[in-house]
Symmetry: C2
DNA sequence: GTCTATATACAGATAGAC
DNA sequence: GTCTATCTGTATATAGAC
């Protein structure tokens, strides 16, 4: 399993500038549509310098994805949710999750990784491990906790976790992926979140 | 709204050969990774002929997506499902839907359209109208029917339809999009379908 | 309509000076 | 380590013969 843990270059250094430029461009326009020239230009760096730090376009792309994967976690929220009343805890998790996946960065990352999954299968795999897989683990653990406390009756916590995130992504995520909507309205968010929470509670009531 | 209704060339003709080759290659490797040379070669046609029928790579790409969008509909199944017992009807719809979205063609199309959504926003929009939007309409109509017959109590049929498809896509769809799995096992399908159906039934029980 | 051959541009990657 | 200048392949698109 190829990890996505790349050594973070110190802020302000040339590699950091390059990674930042690469992130902006790749995420906005996709892998194929961005040239190394454009990245060098955006980073205020010569192309030779670029190649001195990243051996190829592939390598730079991988490093960029690794960088973007960091800091997108549900761990803290799932911990906090355990201390709340059930419906409130579920709503907190759902709310955090929907905000995360509809953020412009997450959407752009999703687009580019999905679009290049055929060409970079190991990258897709590493992205999955670093992002969605960890999220699923954390949400599953939350479901196990609800079951243990007797608040819900969940025979298959992993299935329940998958259903929960499926309910939240629902149809909305696709609409945003396809650039049909720009920003979620407060109303949209509430509708999806409340719908998912109440369906899970009614469906898994003890 | 740009429709995706392109005149279908007669089978066996040069345009048909070209579209078929373009479909194969674009869907397998993505827009950026496929050259017009490769398409011409695969179609057993010269590049000049190719340009005689399709003015540019963009145009060919659009025509290909239009072609691939045809024939993927849920209409017939949703009709049939109305004649069945509730759980069986839901299961039929779910089963058909999951089979549809996990088919290699649908996955490949999804990947390429999502990956290029930034560059071809109107195409993404047309794809949405031709595929997902129509599916949602049909599933929503099915939900309305279940409510009218008093089998379920569904105050917001559109939300329920979105939840139903969300439950079915769940986490599985992402795993397939990222090329982490090749073919769904019978067990996977049953698990997702039964889980979605029973959650909807319990959640919307009158 | 279809082909061979080519124009033109730009991509990724490198050589060599500083 | 960083730059300017360049090599080399290949991409899209077209000209002109048949």
């Amino acid at each position: 399993m190829s990890t996505l843990v790349a050594p973070t270059p110190e802020a302000g250094s040339k590699p950091a500038q390059i990674l930042e430029a690469a992130g902006k461009l790749f995420l906005d326009h996709g892998y194929g549509a961005v040239s190394m020239d454009a990245i060098a230009k955006t980073a205020n760096v010569s192309k030779a310098t670029l190649y001195a730090h990243f051996g190829s376009k592939d390598e730079l792309f991988r490093a960029m994805v690794a960088r973007e994967c960091k800091g997108q976690t549900m761990a803290a929220v799932c911990e906090e949710a355990r201390t709340l009343e059930m419906a409130e805890g579920l709503r907190l998790v759902a709310r955090h999750f929907v905000t995360l996946i509809l953020s412009p960065q997450a959407l752009a990352g999703y687009r580019v990784v999905v679009g290049e999954a055929h060409r970079f299968p190991e990258l897709a795999s590493a992205f999955y491990d670093a992002g969605p897989a960890r999220t699923m683990e954390q949400v599953t653990a939350f479901m196990v906790d609800l079951d243990r406390r007797g608040l819900l009756a969940i025979p298959d916590p992993q299935l329940a976790a998958e259903q929960f995130v499926g309910l939240i992504k629902s149809h909305t995520h696709l609409r945003f992926l396809l650039c049909l909507s720009e920003r979620p309205t407060e109303e949209q968010l509430t509708r999806v979140v409340d719908g998912a929470v109440s369906l899970i509670i009614r469906g898994y009531a003890p």
